[in-house]
Symmetry: C2
Subunit: 193 residues, 2 copies
């Protein structure tokens, strides 16, 4: 399998961590999105959306969207709960991540760290909605060690990816002690610390 | 099962269509989000994100996020392909829908139809990204009857929800003939026309 990814991107790291965790062999092909390397004709032939991560499976077929990729790679592994309701809750967090967390927490970090914007110049909606997403996680983690029960799952993989970089976008994790403790647990479980 | 939903919302209709298709009995509880009915303390107790759709399963446990709900309801039905790669492609479209389609196509429609904004006053990014999403679908549907192969799947359920209302947000579907023909096929397959 080939993983086309940008090591600066949490979405790409999700795929690396999952492949490593389940012991799936891969070649990592570094793509610098800032230099337009995901917009070349060759890349668009693999993924018309021009986004990383994109994987090319052993049989040559491509697959995109980080959370779809990690669901495919982790099927049948301990990262996907056996219980149908737990699996549904995992998916609930994963869709929520792409809708309510990544567009704010990851985008703020990108603008500050890679475009050089001052935190004080970030759009108010990024700051407010990013903080709301972290607060929602804080509530979800008040009563359990991981997002779905007491074991690490793809919900944690998906959400730790940008949460552990949230400070780079100006979000102070000191305000979210349950989230902060959870990051440590997920890093340890995935051996990515 | 109880479905708390707003009949004006494509995300909520996805859940209704899927439950109807698989023959799952439910009570529909209409929630008017414009009147704050998804922000009451009782509602937030079920779903701290304060969003519809939210379902309460027969055993009393809640579940949110439209695409997570329909994956849970349709597991083992013909709406979920047996083949692992087809299933992964279905998930790829479903995550893409929430990230690249709904935030533009659905939000433009909401602003025009429910907030009374003129199409000419919509933010340029909504119009451009919504059109890009429809163009991406047009490409994906050029060679196949449905988004994943020749059978209707949850990818079609997820994407038809707001695509069939796209004109209400100012997007002319005349520019996307493959998409337009696909809408008819999906409506017929789901019996929602």
């Amino acid at each position: 399998m080939k993983i086309y990814g940008d090591s600066k991107s949490g979405n790409c790291l999700k795929v690396k961590w999952t492949a490593d965790f389940v012991g799936r062999a891969y070649d990592w092909i570094e793509i610098d999105t800032m230099r337009g390397e995901s917009r070349t004709p060759a890349f668009l032939g693999m993924n018309p959306a021009g986004q990383v991560p994109t994987v090319v499976l052993d049989d040559g077929r491509p697959l995109a969207q980080s959370n779809a990729i990690i669901l495919h790679l982790a099927e049948g592994s301990p990262l996907v709960p056996d219980d149908a309701y737990d699996r549904a809750r995992m998916l609930e967090w994963m869709f929520w991540e792409q809708y309510r967390h990544e567009p704010y927490v990851a985008v703020a970090r990108f603008q500050v760290k890679y475009l050089g914007k001052a935190v004080s110049d970030l759009e108010a909606r990024l700051v407010e909605r990013g903080a709301a997403a972290l607060q929602r996680m804080e509530g979800g983690l008040a009563a359990s060690a991981f997002l779905v029960g007491d074991r690490v799952s793809l919900a944690d993989v998906a959400l730790v990816a940008y949460t552990r970089f949230a400070h780079e976008g100006g979000f102070s994790l000191d305000r979210y002690p349950a989230v902060q403790a959870w990051i440590g647990r997920v890093e340890a479980a995935l051996k990515i610390a």
